[in-house]
Amino acid sequence: MSRIAMPQREAEIRNKDFIEVNTGYTDEQALAEAKRCLKCPKPMCVQGCPVEIEIPAFIGALSDDNPFKAAKILKGKNSLSAVCGRVCPQEKQCEKHCILGKKDEPIAIGNLERYTADWAAENIKEKNISVESKGIKVAVIGSGPAGLTCAGDLAKAGYETVIYESLHNSGGVLRYGIPEFRLPKSILDYEIDALKKAGVSFKFNTLIGRTITIDELFKDNYKAIFIGSGAGLPTFMGIEGENLKNIYSANEFLSRVNLMRAADFPEYDTPVYKGSNVIVVGGGNTAMDSVRTAKRLGADTVTLVYPRSEAEMPDRLEEKIHAKEEGVQFMPLTNPIRFIGDDKHYFVTQVECLKMELGEPDASGRRKPQEIAGSNFTIEADCVILALGLNPNPVLTSLTKGLKTNERGRIIIDDNLMSSIPGVFAGGDIAGGSTVIEAMGMGKQAARKIMDYLNTLK
């Protein structure tokens, strides 16, 4: 029997709304897919999971038609399983190691994780967990994937855990970055609510470094601090016309739509320009989220411009397929060199590009794109979104004396994820882990190291 594909909504219907694209396995599909598991005596899949989910055990319970048991196993290790089941690149993690994948397709671990988590959300009423408090305070900075995971594990172990968040809502990139059609906010709210029931408390509108300093947190009797403040500043290209109006960083564009709900303007106060001909520059998941969001805002054409070839795009295959199905055009081997605007109002009207060809492999192992001289051409665009990656936010690091960073501005951590300040740990983007699941893995590991550290203080 071959792998059961994830059911999804028709492309021509879904590209006009923000409702989730994948609809999830039915009970029958989940049971059938779970039964494909070979129950290897030495399961390789587990090695591929940064948050150490007991994959064979939860799939085993599913194949016994016991989703309740599967949910208990899953949630024991991962407090954000409904999120992970949706946004993890399983094909590069657990599923990559599955023995079934040698001859056939690997078992759909991600789809089964999602099924189990959604089943639990519908059928298990989470109760407040009362763990005996250790009376020790730990502060977590940032409520993204790293912070939530770290805080969840600490709270479940009895530490008084407070998450400080600069925005007005929790979730970090899961809230402002990942769109509703990939990760419904009701799912995110459900998982965060479960963390609250496990004892995690949240303090919003607090920018550590400015509102409260690290020193002040220690004075306030926090015994350890975890920094998971995420990636910060969007990268710009530094080319002519980049600050013309209706040229957004992907972070701005997605924050307006996801966090501030600009698609529902004027019911919600935050506007966003809904372009007719939209160009997105970049090739990662953020670029994919941007093209698909632009399409849903009603664009006639959405074009993805990327300097390398499609094979070098770092995004997930599923996102690429979905984007193409939804009508996004891909223009690989193309690099913008100038943005052109109207002389009167400075709105962007055109993008001048150069064609590229692939040369020798660069440091990342990918073939380096080179400009083809004289291949200049222009594309009409009334909106441009730049999804070119992020640089660490310097606010916290520059305002915290003694916190060492590397040449790229990331916090330097040791094997125990501890920074140059004793008791201050870091993980996720600010310390080098760039995907959601890497951030969660670091958050989980940090929670353990923080507990070890706190034990040495006794």
Binding site: S166, L167, H168, Y176, F204, N205, T206, L207, R210, T211, I212, T213, G232, L233, P234, F236, G238, E242, N243, K245, N246, Y248, S249, N251, E252, S255, R256, M260, F265, P266, E267, Y268, D269, T270, P271, Y273, H345, Y346, N393, P394, V395
Partner: protein
């Protein structure tokens, strides 16, 4: 939730709030700003810190009822709450002993200079304030500014108070009269630009406080990017104060109008609903 403890109407379209926010008041300094979000439907709007009371844990904002968000904010009463308030954000004003400092302000920008004047006076500067307003009624905080400054000059567009004319006319006279070591300009972008153009001719160091469009205000989105000395800077984390002679004013003025059409839609819709409510 952040409670409004004192509301004062400073002019027909300008309101002052003292807000209970002890965490913000504790570390806030002159030149920094806040971001407010009125309610669950609200946008995030930056406003400069207009006053700090650390003992009472209060922070002051003074704002013009310009768009939908600030108009709705002005309707709050004492005891009402603002849903979200983040701050202090941005780098504080760099305060040192320059000698003679001239502070030029216009419009609602005048609300923000009091903290800067006080900070500069404390370290021993002579501070000359030049305040511009369209008309006498819109001239804010006269007593406070007069008390804080070494000298106060006033210009109104219609001559209803002080000199009839522009703040730059007064500044020109002062530059001819004595040595000015530094100029601060805070107010509408065209006014700041005019000050910058004048002081550039006389090679007087000039600092401006910029107020571009923002979303998060913490460096995440880049909406507030400005070109300073040919480089892209984020007003929220690199500013809000910059060297006035390095700012690309054409770009700044253009970007301030990014959502002019949407802002009007939002305000019109709000006003229609408000008048409908009043009639009921």
């Amino acid at each position: 939730m952040y409670r409004v403890v004192l509301k004062q109407k400073l002019a027909s379209n300008i309101t002052s709030f003292w807000i209970e926010a002890p965490d913000i008041a504790r570390n806030a300094q002159a030149g920094q700003f806040l971001i407010f979000r009125l309610d669950d439907y609200g946008e995030r709007v930056p406003l400069t810190v207009a006053g700090i009371d650390r003992q009472k844990g209060l922070i002051r904002i003074i704002f013009q009822h310009a768009g939908k968000s600030t108009t709705a904010l002005s309707l709050l009463k004492e005891g009402d709450n603002i849903k979200d308030l983040l701050g202090p954000l941005g780098r504080p004003t760099e305060v040192e002993k320059f000698g003679t400092a001239c502070i030029v302000s216009g419009g609602v920008g005048t609300a923000e200079i009091l903290t800067v004047i006080e900070a500069l006076r404390i370290v021993g500067n002579k501070v000359i304030s030049i305040v511009g307003a369209r008309t006498k009624e819109l001239f804010l905080l006269e007593e406070d500014i007069r008390r804080a400054s070494s000298e106060l000059h006033i210009a109104t567009d219609d001559g209803s108070y002080g000199v009839k004319g522009l703040v730059t006319d007064i500044l020109k006279t002062l530059i001819a009269r004595e040595t000015i070591n530094i100029v601060y300009a805070i107010g509408p972008a065209p006014m700041m630009r005019a000050v910058a153009d004048l002081t550039k001719k006389h090679s007087i160091k000039t600092v401006v406080s910029l107020n571009p469009i923002m979303v998060d205000g913490t460096g995440m989105c880049g909406a507030c990017r400005v070109s300073v000395g040919g480089k892209t800077k984020f007003a929220c984390v690199d500013g809000p104060e910059f060297d006035a002679h390095q700012v690309n004013w054409d770009e700044l003025l253009s970007r301030l109008g990014t959502f002019r059409y949407q802002e009007k839609t939002s305000l019109d819709r709000f006003n229609i609903r408000r008048s409908a409510l009043c009639q009921e």
